[in-house]
Structure formats: structure tokens, C-alpha cells
């Protein structure tokens, strides 16, 4: 920039980034794009903390003896890894960052429906996160991220109450985000943008918001009850006083199973966008993909019992939950097949976002299929609480949610910053993540099937080879996750400046300038065509016009 001197007669364009430079202008902003970036920064910090815990776990498990830390410390480490990654990274990841940034842009709106509520949700999130950091500093929690009583309510002498309060508060942030999105999608669509012209990203977020609004209060009341039980011992979950510990599991999983769909559905929405735009084709079976998001959200509320096959629930309940769990495979498979059908005969460009999208399809399929193993009642008795389960949900959460999150981040990076990341490094890191991820978690399927229980810090020597493979993969994965942090930060200053629509993508968010102005659009967009119709993209139209002009000349 400094080397070239351009006689600029006009002011530089006002974008949301240069509309105010003070710290105050960021911390008190009502602009959804800035709030998205605040979230992006904060969840990255939580992700790093969760990642450090993950590497501690993998270091401990290299050897069969518990030689790096005591069993007690190990309990705290895997608990804090789970809590950090689930409540403070995965659940807010895509909705709060990309969702906040893109939803109003995709709808042609100035902002979300309740901008002040949006800012409040970030502050509530930070408050909850700070309490969780205090929890860590005062010794953490050792109950596992599920906080099952009676251990958590009577025996554990760690900071369960504080962690519960922290999750209670963070839940409000999730509720506010979901509520905001739903109202935004209902009331803020641009003229002509009917429900079936919405991008699939928006549909996915609608389904996600539905879960956030309906599910989160249930875990709020659950952890509240747990906190009362722990502080007052009044007999909510204590069998000695007439309570029922399994009731906690029911209430907990009534939220926490839908919660894993909060993590994955936005990711599916991102992948739909990536695949349509990277193959230059209209998504195959738009209505099916849109409604399968809603179907997954609805089914999500009906399958919580599959976490409790071995928890004394009745055989008939188990059968029903098993059946409905199998049914979840249907909408998931609809998505996978529609994506593959979209890729078929498309003009595929293997840029970084597409690598992530393809990785998502593969890893999510493996994760989903192993979910069917676990949904089988008899097999689950053997596999329950083994590393097979750990591998299964990491395939879905990391191989699904985080891969989708990174893919989306790369795809919309030029929209967010106006600059392009270095493509070659993007491809390298995506490949490293893919390889490292598989090396980390595939051995865990095997070792879990052989009978290695989860949450143990020492194991029999026969399992060591699988754990060494897994730990080696974890170091690859760490490299793969650190690389984007480095080159994305680098690209903020040195990245190549690209135009408004470097991918030639279809979608309302690409029609405004990059980075967008504070009000998103300098005009009122009006929609007159469906989503993913590439012949309507401005740049493509211009190119076609030039082509035609050459023909006539």
C-alpha cells in the first residue's frame, strides 16, 4: 500500500470496519457484523483453551500407565475439554459468527431484528465464559461434561455449582441468538425474498434457532435444580431423599441431544452454500435440503433416550428411542445425497472451501453411520461409554461442525475482510486437518470396539498402539488448526485485495461491497429469482455482455 502513491480525490469507502476506530466503537457496537467478529475472537480463545485440554488428554494416553497426571487431574482435564468445546465453542461457533455476520446480508436487511439484544447476547456469553474461566482457575470440575448426579450433587468436591451457573448464563446467550435469528428471518426479508428463495444457510439457521429456543431453557432449569440440590441437599436427584438421578439424565439429554444438532445443522447450511457455489450449480432438491434441516431439528427432540440405553430405562422406551434414532439418518442422508447429486456434472473447483466441503461429506457420513451402530440396542450395551462413542461424536462434531465452520470462514473471508487468504496455504492446512483428524479418531473406533472405556487415564498395554496413532494424529490436527490462525491473521494486512465477489458466487451477500458498509446495502435490494441462479450474478452477466459485444464487433 505504502509503495504505490495514488492521487486519491475521493475519501476511501466507508465500511463497517473503518466506521469507527475506538475500542468503544467495537464494544458498544450494534452492527451485527462487528458482533460477529467479537464472537469470532472470543470463541477462538475458548477453542484454544479446549484444544490445550485436548492435547493434555492425548499426551496422557500415550502410555498405558497414568504417569503424566493423577486420575483426579485427568477427570478435570477431560471435563473441562468437553465443557469448553461444547458450551463455549461448538454451540455458538457458526450461528454466532458466520450466522450473525451473514444472515442480515443474505436477507437484504440492514441488521438483525433486535440489534441491542444481539450485543447483549455477546456480553452474556462473555460473562458466562468468564465464570467458566474462574471455574478453571479454582480447580475445575471433575464430573464429566454431563454433570450426572449423584456424583455431581453429593460427592464431587469441585466447582460444580459455579460451572452450572456459568452454563445457565451462557444458555441465555444461545436463546437470545436463536430468538433474534427467528424473528429476523420472519420479519426482515427483502421484498420478493420468499421462503423458498432463501439460501439454505438461512434455512439451516432457522432450524437451529428453533432448537436453541426450545431446548436451552430445559438445560437451564436442569442445572438450576442441580445447583439447588448441591447447595441445599433438598432431594431433587438424591435417591436417599426420594429423588431420582435418572430424571436428571432425561432432562439433561432433552437439551443436550438437540444441542449436538445445534452444532451440526448450521454446518450443513454452510456446506450447502459451499457446494452450490463451488460447483456452479443450483442445489439439487432445494426443498428437500431445506426441510431436512427442520426434520433433523424435530427428530432431535425425540431421541434423547438413546444416551440412556444402559441407564435402567424400560426396554420399550429403548426400542422407541432406537427406532426414532434410526429415523434421523433419513434427513441426514437426504442432505448427503443431494449434495453429491449437486456435485455430479458440476464444474467443480477444488479451492479450500470445496476441500472442506468434501471433507465434511466424507467425515460426516462416517460419523453418522457409526451413530447407527450405537443406536442399535444390543450393540450399544457393548459400546456404551467406550472410545467408539468418543470417536463417533468427534467425527460428527469436529469432522462435521468444525470442518464446516472453517470452510465457511474461508469462503466468506473475502466478504468479511475484503482480502483473500493465501490459497495454497489454505489447501495445505485443509488437507493436514483432514489427514490428522482421521489419524486421530479412526484408531479410536478400533480401540473402542476392543473395549477401551472412555474417561480412563490408564489402560491395558494391548491398546497402546492405537493410542499412539491417535496422539500422533492429534499433533497433526494441532498444526492444521494453528495454520489458519497464522495465515488468516497475515492476510488481514498483506492479503490480496479482491473485489466484491471473488468466487462469482450467487447470493445477496455478494451483491454488496466487501467489506460491507455499516448499513449493508446502499440501496434496497429486491429479489426476483430463486437462490443459486448463477446467470443472475452481476459479474457473470457483465462477462456475458462483453462476450456478446465481442461477437458483434
Amino acid at each position: 500500500m505504502a509503495s504505490e502513491v495514488i492521487a486519491q480525490t475521493e475519501e476511501p469507502r466507508v465500511t463497517y470496519l473503518n466506521a469507527g476506530h475506538t475500542v468503544k466503537s467495537w464494544l458498544l457496537t450494534l452492527d451485527h457484523k462487528r458482533i460477529g467478529l467479537l464472537y469470532l475472537f472470543s470463541i477462538s480463545v475458548f477453542f484454544a483453551i479446549g484444544g490445550i485440554y485436548a492435547s493434555l488428554i492425548r499426551l496422557e494416553l500415550i502410555t498405558p500407565q497414568g504417569d503424566l497426571m493423577s486420575a483426579d487431574t485427568y477427570n478435570r482435564v477431560f471435563t473441562m475439554h468437553g465443557v469448553m468445546m461444547i458450551f463455549f465453542f461448538l454451540i455458538p461457533s457458526i450461528p454466532a459468527t458466520l450466522g450473525n455476520f451473514l444472515l442480515p446480508l443474505m436477507l437484504g436487511a440492514k441488521d438483525v431484528a433486535f440489534p441491542r439484544l444481539n450485543l447483549l447476547s455477546w456480553y452474556v456469553f462473555i460473562l458466562g465464559g468468564s465464570l467458566m474461566l474462574i471455574t478453571i482457575m479454582t480447580g475445575g470440575v471433575d464430573t464429566g461434561w454431563t454433570f450426572y448426579p449423584p456424583y455431581s450433587s453429593i460427592y464431587s468436591n469441585t466447582q460444580v455449582t459455579l460451572a452450572g451457573v456459568s452454563i445457565f448464563i451462557t444458555g441465555f446467550s444461545s436463546i437470545l441468538t436463536g430468538l433474534n435469528f427467528m424473528v429476523t428471518i420472519h420479519t426482515m426479508r427483502a421484498p420478493g425474498l420468499t421462503w423458498f428463495r432463501l439460501p439454505l444457510f438461512v434455512w439451516a439457521h432457522y432450524a437451529t434457532s428453533l432448537i436453541q429456543v426450545l431446548g436451552t431453557p430445559v438445560i437451564a432449569i436442569t442445572v438450576l435444580a442441580l445447583a439447588f440440590e448441591r447447595t441445599l441437599q433438598i432431594g431433587i436427584f438424591d435417591p436417599k431423599l426420594g429423588g431420582d438421578p435418572v430424571l436428571f439424565q432425561h432432562m439433561f439429554w432433552f437439551y443436550s441431544h438437540p444441542a449436538v444438532y445445534i452444532m451440526i445443522i448450521p454446518s450443513m447450511g454452510v456446506v450447502s452454500e459451499l457446494i452450490a457455489n463451488m460447483t456452479r450449480k443450483k442445489i439439487f432438491g432445494y426443498h428437500f435440503v431445506a426441510f431436512s434441516s427442520l426434520a433433523i431439528a424435530v427428530f432431535g427432540f425425540l431421541v434423547w433416550g438413546h444416551h440412556m440405553f444402559t441407564s435402567s430405562q424400560s426396554m420399550y422406551a429403548g426400542m422407541v428411542f432406537s427406532l426414532i434414532t434410526y429415523a434421523v439418518a433419513i434427513p441426514s442422508a437426504i442432505k448427503i445425497f443431494n449434495w453429491t447429486a449437486t456435485i455430479f456434472k458440476g464444474s467443480v473447483s477444488y479451492d479450500t472451501p470445496m476441500i472442506y466441503a468434501l471433507a465434511f461429506i466424507g467425515l460426516f457420513t462416517v460419523g453418522g453411520m457409526t451413530g447407527l451402530f450405537l443406536a442399535a440396542l444390543g450393540l450399544d450395551v457393548h459400546l456404551h461409554d467406550t472410545y467408539f462413542v468418543v470417536a463417533h461424536f468427534h467425527y460428527v462434531m469436529v469432522g462435521g461442525a468444525i470442518i464446516g465452520y472453517l470452510g465457511g470462514l474461508h469462503f466468506w473471508w473475502p466478504k468479511i475482510t475484503g482480502r483473500m487468504y493465501p490459497e495454497i496455504w489454505g489447501r495445505i492446512s485443509a488437507s493436514i486437518i483432514f489427514l490428522g483428524f482421521n489419524l486421530t479418531f479412526f484408531p479410536q473406533f478400533i480401540v473402542g470396539y476392543l473395549g477401551m472405556p472412555r474417561r480412563y487415564h490408564a489402560y491395558v498395554p494391548e491398546f497402546q498402539v492405537w493410542h499412539i496413532l491417535s496422539s500422533a494424529g492429534a499433533s497433526l490436527l494441532a498444526i492444521g488448526f494453528i495454520m489458519p490462525v497464522v495465515y488468516l491473521t497475515w492476510s488481514l494486512k498483506y492479503g490480496e485485495k479482491v473485489g466484491d465477489n471473488p468466487w462469482m458466487a450467487a447470493g445477496l451477500e455478494w451483491e454488496t461491497s466487501s467489506p460491507p458498509p455499516p448499513e449493508n446495502f446502499t440501496y434496497q435490494p429486491v429479489i426476483n429469482h430463486d437462490a443459486y441462479e448463477f446467470e443472475n450474478v452481476k459479474e457473470i452477466k457483465e462477462a456475458a455482455a462483453r462476450e456478446a459485444a465481442l461477437q458483434t464487433a
Binding site: A113, I175, L214, P217, Q233, L241
Partner: protein
């Protein structure tokens, strides 16, 4: 403007949906434990004062009426009547909480707060004249009514804000959605109480106390 009003209303309905789920967890616990310990619930219900609960029910239903009138007059833009009805609502809400205070005080004096037995092992655990599972009923009673009372307190705080805005003449025929949205919240809290009253106070009202 129209869009904003619509958004606010949808937002409040969604928020009330989350509140239903929030209380829903406790209603679930209520159903399970009532099926499990019918005797404890029968006797626990007899420990509560039906007259006081009934009075509170009437008070809240009337306060819902006054709130609805307030919303009506805010739409007509009549500031004085709006303020009057809001003040009535405030008074009735406060009466509810005062009655609740006396109810709770009476429970504490009789050592009927579940945690009391935990921290005073010397005390009867639970008092021998009661059925063993009265304790389960009591924590459900305290948690449900306590959560409801908390919602009332928040409601009254919001009501004060709305009244201040009304006093300053903020509301006109065209702009009155805060009153309307707050009205939704107030009715919701009322409805929760209407469910709580029969479930907690009237369980076994027609049955003589027994249960052993």
C-alpha cells in the same frame, strides 16, 4: 415501524415459548414424582393454605384484567387511564407477593423448608408426623412458586419502567408496543400461576388428610 412492532411481538411470543420450556422441566418433575409418591403429595398439599392460595389466584386474575385494560387504553392513547390501570396492576402484583411472603414465612416457621432438615440433622428428618415423601413435594412447591415469584418480581420491576414511560407521555396511539409486549409477559406469569394453584394447593383438596 409496523415491522418493528411485529418483530417485538413475535420476539416476546418466542421468549414466552422458552419460558414454557423452562417451567416445563419442573412440571415434568411434578408429574413423575406425583405418580411415584401419591401419598406424599396428598399430605404435602394439605400443608398449604388453600384460602391464601385462592386469594392470590383471584388477585392475579384481576391484575391480568387490569393489565388488559391498560393495553386497551394505551391503544386509544389515553394516558391517564393507562396510568391508572398500570398502577392497579402494580398494586395487585404487590399484594400477591405480600401474601406469598406470609405463606413462605409460615412454612419456614414450621421447618417445612426442605433444606432445613439437611442443615439441622437434629431436627426431625422429615418431621415424624409427616409422610416420608412430603419433602419431595415441598421442594417442588418451593421451586415452582419461588421461580414464579421471581418472575413476578421481574414483572413488577418492568412495570415500574413502563409506568415511568407512560408518565412521561411516551405512548401514543401509534406507539404503544412496549405496553402490549409487557402485557403478554404479565398474562403468561398469570397463566403459570393458574396451573400451579390446582396442582399444588388443590391436590387432594376433597380428600381427608391421611396418606399413610
Amino acid at each position: 415501524m409496523e415491522q418493528q412492532k411485529e418483530a417485538g411481538t413475535i420476539g416476546m411470543w418466542l421468549f414466552l415459548l422458552t419460558e414454557i420450556m423452562f417451567f416445563g422441566g419442573l412440571f415434568l418433575a411434578y408429574s413423575i414424582y406425583r405418580a411415584k409418591y401419591p401419598d406424599g403429595f396428598l399430605q404435602g398439599s394439605h400443608l398449604l393454605s388453600v384460602p391464601l392460595g385462592g386469594l392470590n389466584t383471584v388477585v392475579l386474575i384481576v391484575s391480568s384484567l387490569t393489565m388488559a385494560m391498560g393495553v386497551h387504553y394505551s391503544q386509544l392513547g389515553e394516558r391517564k387511564k393507562l396510568l391508572g390501570f398500570l398502577a392497579l396492576t402494580l398494586v395487585l402484583g404487590s399484594v400477591f407477593l405480600i401474601v406469598k411472603y406470609f405463606e413462605y414465612k409460615e412454612k419456614f416457621e414450621h421447618h417445612l423448608f426442605p433444606a432445613y432438615w439437611t442443615y439441622h440433622p437434629a431436627a426431625d428428618h422429615p418431621p415424624t408426623q409427616y409422610h416420608g415423601h412430603v419433602q419431595v413435594f415441598l421442594w417442588i412447591y418451593f421451586m415452582m412458586t419461588g421461580l414464579h415469584a421471581l418472575h413476578m418480581i421481574i414483572g413488577i420491576a418492568l412495570l415500574l419502567v413502563i409506568m415511568f414511560m407512560a408518565y412521561r407521555g411516551k405512548f401514543t396511539k401509534e406507539y404503544n408496543s412496549p405496553v402490549e409486549i409487557f402485557g403478554l409477559y404479565w398474562h403468561f406469569v398469570d397463566i403459570v400461576w393458574i396451573f400451579l394453584f390446582p396442582l399444588l394447593y388443590l391436590t387432594g383438596f376433597h380428600v381427608s388428610s391421611g396418606g399413610h
